[in-house]
C-alpha cells in the first residue's frame, strides 16, 4: 500500500481562513467544504487510494484559477488539480490538507480556426468534445484515449495521453500548439501558439506530461485534422496470446502503419462483447483490432496485405467490418474495455507499461506465468501497435490480501517492462501508482535533474504533491 504524506497540522488549523479566502474568490456553489460533500472527491479512477481533501474549489475562469493558486501559495496550502477524475494512476488523488482545484466548469470551446487547423478550448472540455465541435466540418482531434468521452483535455496534457489512433497520429504532445497555464504564484503564462515550434525552450514539451506538478493548465490550443476519406476495422482471432503478439510484430515489422492496432485477450474479449455486442470471436484466446484508413482502394490494398501477413499465424477467423455501424460497435467494445472488466471482476488495477513491440510475445508469456504465481486473473487490453500494454489485474477490494497481491503483481509487470527495454508508463502517467517504481526506471542523477526542474516551477512542492517522485524525495529548500 502506497503511503500518503501526513497532513500538516498548521494548515489544518487554518482551514477556516483558507475556506474564507476561497469564498471571496468563487461563487458559493464553487466552494465545497462539508465533509459529506467532500467525500466523492476523495479519489479518482484509481479508487484503491482515497483521502478526503480540505476543500474543493471549482473555478470558471483562468483569473479565478490564478486567484485560488495565489491564495494557496500565500498560505502554503497544497493543491490537487483535477479534470474529470478519470486518472488510472491516481493523478488526482487528494490529500487531507490540500485543496482540490476542479476544472470541470471550464468547459467552453473558445475558438475554432479551420484556416489554420486549430482549436482553442478551456481545460475542462472533454477530449471527444473537441472532435464533436469540429466534426460537422469534417475535422477531428486525433489523440483518443479510451476514456475520451469523459476525460478532459487539461488532464490529457498533464498525462500526455495517447489512445488507439496514436499509432499513426502521435500522442497529445504531437498535437498540441499552445497553452495558457497558471503558476503556483498565480502568474498566467501564455505558451506556444498557432505556429510550428515555439520561441525559446520547448515549453510545451516540458509541460506536457508534467502531471499537474509544474503549472495548472487552463486553456489548450490543439491541432485539428481533416478526417480521412474512410476507415475500416478488421478483427483477427488467434489461438494464443503469444501467436497474436508475433502477428503484431510481423505487421509492424513489415513497415505498414495501420491507424490502430489493438490487442485483447480472452477475458477482455468476453467482457467487452457483453457490453458492446460487436460480434467479437468468443472462441479465440486473443484478438487484434486492426484499422486502416484512406480511400476505398487504399483500404482494400492495406487490408489485403495485412491479411496475408496474418495468415502464417493461422488465425481462427478474420472479419472485415462491412459498415460504419459495425466499426462503431467494434470500437465501442474496445473503448469501454476497462469499465467492461467491471462485469467480470469487482475491482481491477490497470497497468500502463510500454515495451518494444518485438518483445511482446515474451512479455505476454511472462505476464501469464505471474498471473498463476499470484493467483490473480489478468485481462490484457492494449495498444499493441506501439507496444503500450494495459494488463488489468483483477482483484477484490473487499479482500485486503487480494489487493496487496494485485499491487505486487502490478509492480512486477512494470519492472518487467523496464527490464526488456521499455518504461513504466505509456499514457496514464506515473501519478501515485507508479511513484515508488521511479527508482527502478531512473538513476539518482536522472531523478535529481527532474526534482530540480520541479523546484524551478514550484519550490515548496505545493502542486500535486506525493505524485511521480518517491515519497522520500524532497524539494531543495527542505534539504
Amino acid at each position: 500500500m502506497l503511503a500518503l504524506p501526513e497532513p500538516k497540522a498548521d494548515i489544518l488549523a487554518r482551514r477556516d481562513e483558507i475556506v474564507a479566502g476561497l469564498r471571496a474568490i468563487l461563487p458559493a456553489s464553487g466552494v465545497i467544504t462539508e465533509p459529506l460533500r467532500l467525500k466523492p472527491y476523495e479519489t479518482d479512477g484509481l479508487p484503491a487510494y482515497r483521502q478526503i481533501p480540505l476543500a474543493v474549489a471549482l473555478p470558471e475562469t483562468t483569473e479565478q484559477v490564478a486567484a485560488v493558486l495565489k491564495l494557496c501559495h500565500s498560505i502554503g496550502v497544497r493543491v490537487i488539480p483535477r479534470g474529470a477524475g478519470t486518472s488510472l494512476s491516481g493523478g488526482a488523488t487528494p490529500l487531507a490538507d490540500a485543496v482540490v482545484l476542479g476544472l470541470m466548469r471550464m468547459n467552453r470551446i473558445l475558438e475554432i480556426d479551420y484556416a489554420d487547423r486549430c482549436a482553442t478550448v478551456q481545460a475542462g472540455v472533454t477530449n471527444i468534445g473537441i472532435t464533436q465541435a469540429v466534426a460537422g466540418n469534417g475535422f477531428f482531434y486525433a489523440p483518443d484515449p479510451s476514456s475520451q468521452l469523459a476525460c478532459m483535455i487539461g488532464g490529457n496534457v498533464g498525462m500526455n495521453s495517447g489512445g488507439a489512433h496514436c499509432l499513426k497520429y502521435g500522442v497529445t504532445a504531437n498535437n498540441l500548439l499552445g497553452l495558457t497555464a497558471v503558476t503556483i504564484e498565480g502568474d498566467i503564462l501564455h505558451l506556444g501558439g498557432n505556429h510550428l515550434d515555439a520561441a525559446g525552450y520547448d515549453w510545451l514539451g516540458l509541460i506536457t506530461g508534467s502531471e499537474g506538478m509544474l503549472v495548472v493548465v487552463t486553456e489548450v490550443m490543439v491541432r485539428i485534422l481533416r478526417g480521412p476519406e474512410g476507415a475500416r476495422a478488421m478483427l483477427a482471432a488467434f489461438r494464443s496470446n503469444e501467436i497474436a503478439g508475433q502477428c503484431v510484430d510481423a505487421i509492424i515489422g513489415s513497415g505498414i502503419i495501420p491507424v490502430a492496432l489493438e490487442f485483447m485477450d480472452r477475458p477482455a474479449i468476453h467482457a467487452c462483447e457483453a457490453f458492446a455486442h460487436a460480434g467479437y470471436p468468443l472462441d479465440a484466446e486473443a484478438m487484434l483490432i486492426i484499422e486502416v484508413e484512406g480511400s476505398v482502394a487504399e483500404q482494400d490494398d492495406l487490408l489485403d496485405r495485412i491479411k496475408r501477413l496474418c495468415e502464417p499465424f493461422e488465425p481462427l477467423s478474420m472479419r472485415v467490418s462491412q459498415s460504419p455501424e459495425e466499426s462503431l460497435a467494434i470500437w465501442k467494445g474496445r473503448k469501454g474495455a476497462f469499465g467492461a472488466v467491471g462485469r467480470i471482476s469487482p475491482d481491477y488495477m490497470c497497468m500502463d507499461g510500454t515495451i518494444p513491440t518485438s518483445r511482446l510475445p515474451e512479455v505476454l508469456r511472462r505476464i501469464g506465468e505471474m498471473s498463476d504465481q499470484y493467483g490473480l486473473k489478468v485481462a490484457n487490453i492494449f495498444h499493441a501497435g506501439d507496444g503500450n500494454l494495459h494488463p488489468l489485474v483483477m482483484f477484490d477490494a473487499n479482500d485486503p490480501d487480494s489487493f496487496h497481491r494485485a499491487e505486487a503483481f502490478g509492480a512486477d509487470i512494470l519492472k518487467l517492462c523496464v527490464e526488456v527495454g521499455g518504461c513504466l508508463t505509456g499514457e496514464h502517467g506515473v501519478g501515485l501508482e507508479k511513484r515508488d517504481l521511479m527508482r527502478f526506471q531512473f538513476s539518482e542523477p536522472e531523478l535529481e535533474r527532474q526534482r530540480r526542474l520541479k523546484d524551478a516551477f514550484d519550490p515548496a512542492w505545493l502542486l500535486n504533491p506525493a505524485k511521480v517522485f518517491p515519497l522520500q524525495d524532497k524539494p531543495r529548500q527542505a534539504a
Binding site: 459529506l36 460533500r37 469523459a150 467491471g342 462485469r343 475491482d347 473487499n398
Partner: protein
C-alpha cells in the same frame, strides 16, 4: 468498488441488491460525461459517480439522509443516460430507486416541500383529480405575478407555466376495442394517468392504429397509474399499490382471453412496467410481475414487430425525433421510432446531444424548475438547428415540456396513425 456493509445490513434484500450494484462500479467516470446535471453544473456531486458515492456512504452509515445528500439525489433526473454509457453494467436505476426510498423513509423535508410532494402524489396519478387541478391552474394563471419569491413560489410558477391553457374533452377508453377485419391477436393498453387528461388523442390514435392492424385492444377498467410517479419520488407503498392493481388487472386478462403484449405509449411508464419483475422480486406476485414485464412493450417496438405500412402519400414534413430518456436509456429502444417515422414518409432529423434529457423527467420540471428550464432551452436550441416542421416523441412528459416554443409537439403514434388513415393530428397547423 470496495463496500463495507455489515453482515447484519446485508440481510436486508434492498441493501443486498445495492451492494451488488456498488461492487459492479469500477469508478471509471465515463458516466459523468453524459449526465445532464454534470454537464450543466460541473460538480462531481451532481454526476452519477458522485451520487453513487453519496448513496453508498448514506446506506453504509445507516444514518438518516442529510440535507446535503438529499440535494444531490433530488437533482438526479433519473434519465438513466449513465446506464447507456456505463461499460460495467451498473444498474444505477435500482440504486437510485433505493436511495430515493431511503431518503423518504429517513429524512424530513421542509413543510412546503412535503405539501408540494404530497399534492403531486395525490393529484398526478388520478385523472379526475388531475383534471380538477389543471382547471384550477388555468384559473390561477392570471395571478401568477402575485406568487411569493423563493423556492416555493418558483415551483408554483413552474406548475402554472406547464399547465395547458385549455384541456381537451374527457375521453373514456376503458373496455375492449375490437379488431377491424381478421383478428391477428389481442393486446392490453396502459391508458395511463396524466396522459389521459393532457392528450387523450394519443390513446385514441394508438387504439385506431392497432385495431386497424387487426388487434383487439383491451383497457381493463381497474388498471390505472403504473406507479412510476410515486416510485420516482421514493414513495414505495403507493407505487407498489398502483403496480399491484395493474398486475391483477392484466393477469386476469392473461388468464382469460390471453394477451400477446402489454403496450405502453408513455415511455416513462414503460420503463417502470418493464421493471415490475424486479420491484416484486420478494412479493407473492413475483411470477406474474415478471411475466408482465416480459410482455410489456413500447408501442414502437410492437409496431416494428407486427409490421407497419402507411396508406397516405408522404406529408412532406421534417420531423425532429426527440428520444425520450425513458425510451432510449430506460428501455434501450432507439432505432424503432425513427425507422417507423421514416417508413411513414417523414424526413427524420436527429438533433445534436440527443442523449441529454429535456428536463421533463416525470415530476422533475415541477420540483427542479431551474435545472429543468435550462435543459429545455438547450434541447430546443439543438432541435431548432435542425429546422424541423415539428417535434415527435414517445413520452407525454417530453411533449408537454417542449411545447409552447413555436414547434408542434406530437406523439410518434399520432403521426403513424395519421399516415395509416387516421385523422391529421390536431396540434399540426393545417
Amino acid at each position: 468498488m470496495q463496500t463495507s456493509f455489515t453482515a447484519e445490513q446485508l440481510r436486508d434484500p434492498d441493501i443486498q441488491s445495492s451492494n451488488k450494484i456498488l461492487r459492479t462500479c469500477v469508478h471509471c467516470g465515463m458516466c459523468t460525461a453524459t449526465c445532464p446535471t454534470f454537464v450543466l453544473l460541473g460538480d462531481e456531486l451532481d454526476s452519477p459517480r458522485g451520487r453513487i458515492y453519496l448513496m453508498q456512504d448514506m446506506l453504509e452509515s445507516g444514518r438518516p439522509a442529510t440535507a446535503e445528500v438529499v440535494t444531490h439525489i433530488d437533482r438526479c433526473l433519473s434519465c438513466l443516460s449513465c446506464m447507456t454509457t456505463c461499460p460495467s453494467g451498473v444498474n444505477y436505476m435500482h440504486l437510485i430507486d433505493h436511495g430515493r426510498r431511503y431518503v423518504e423513509e429517513t429524512y424530513t423535508r421542509p413543510w412546503h416541500e412535503r405539501l408540494l410532494r404530497n399534492t403531486l402524489v395525490r393529484v398526478l396519478p388520478s385523472p379526475s383529480r388531475m383534471r380538477w387541478a389543471l382547471t384550477a391552474a388555468r384559473l390561477a394563471k392570471p395571478f401568477r405575478a402575485l406568487l411569493p419569491g423563493g423556492v416555493f413560489g418558483s415551483r408554483l410558477r413552474a406548475m402554472l407555466d406547464l399547465a395547458p391553457t385549455h384541456l381537451p374533452p374527457r375521453q373514456v377508453v376503458n373496455g375492449v376495442h375490437r379488431a377491424d377485419g381478421t383478428r391477428r391477436g389481442r393486446v392490453a393498453l396502459l391508458a395511463g394517468c396524466a396522459q389521459q387528461v393532457l392528450a387523450p388523442s394519443i390513446n385514441a390514435a394508438t387504439i385506431r392504429l392497432l385495431t386497424r392492424l387487426g388487434y383487439d385492444v383491451v383497457v381493463p377498467p381497474s388498471a390505472g397509474c403504473c406507479g412510476a410517479l410515486t416510485h420516482h419520488m421514493g414513495q414505495h407503498d403507493p407505487a407498489m399499490a398502483a403496480a399491484r392493481t395493474n398486475i391483477a388487472a392484466w393477469s386476469a386478462e392473461m388468464a382469460g382471453e390471453g394477451l400477446d403484449a402489454i403496450l405502453i405509449n408513455t415511455s416513462g411508464c414503460g420503463t417502470t412496467v418493464k421493471d415490475y419483475g424486479f420491484m416484486f422480486r420478494d412479493e407473492p406476485e413475483q411470477a406474474q410481475a415478471a411475466q408482465i414485464s416480459a410482455l410489456a412493450a413500447d408501442i414502437s417496438q410492437f409496431l416494428s414487430r407486427i409490421g407497419y405500412a402507411p396508406t397516405r402519400d408522404p406529408a412532406g414534413l421534417t420531423v425532429a425525433y426527440h428520444a425520450a430518456c425513458s425510451l432510449q436509456h430506460g428501455q434501450s429502444v432507439t432505432a424503432e421510432p425513427k425507422t417507423l417515422l421514416r417508413k411513414a414518409g417523414f424526413t427524420v432529423v436527429e438533433p445534436a446531444e440527443g442523449h441529454l434529457c429535456c428536463g421533463s423527467a416525470g415530476t422533475y420540471n415541477l420540483l427542479q424548475p431551474e435545472i429543468a428550464g435550462r435543459l429545455r432551452e438547450r434541447k430546443l436550441d439543438n432541435i431548432r438547428r435542425t429546422t424541423p416542421d415539428l417535434i415527435a416523441a414517445g413520452n407525454i412528459g417530453c411533449l408537454t415540456q417542449l411545447a409552447g416554443a413555436g414547434l408542434p409537439t406530437i406523439h410518434t403514434v399520432e403521426l403513424l396513425d395519421w399516415m395509416a388513415g387516421g385523422p391529421r393530428p390536431a396540434a399540426l397547423p393545417a
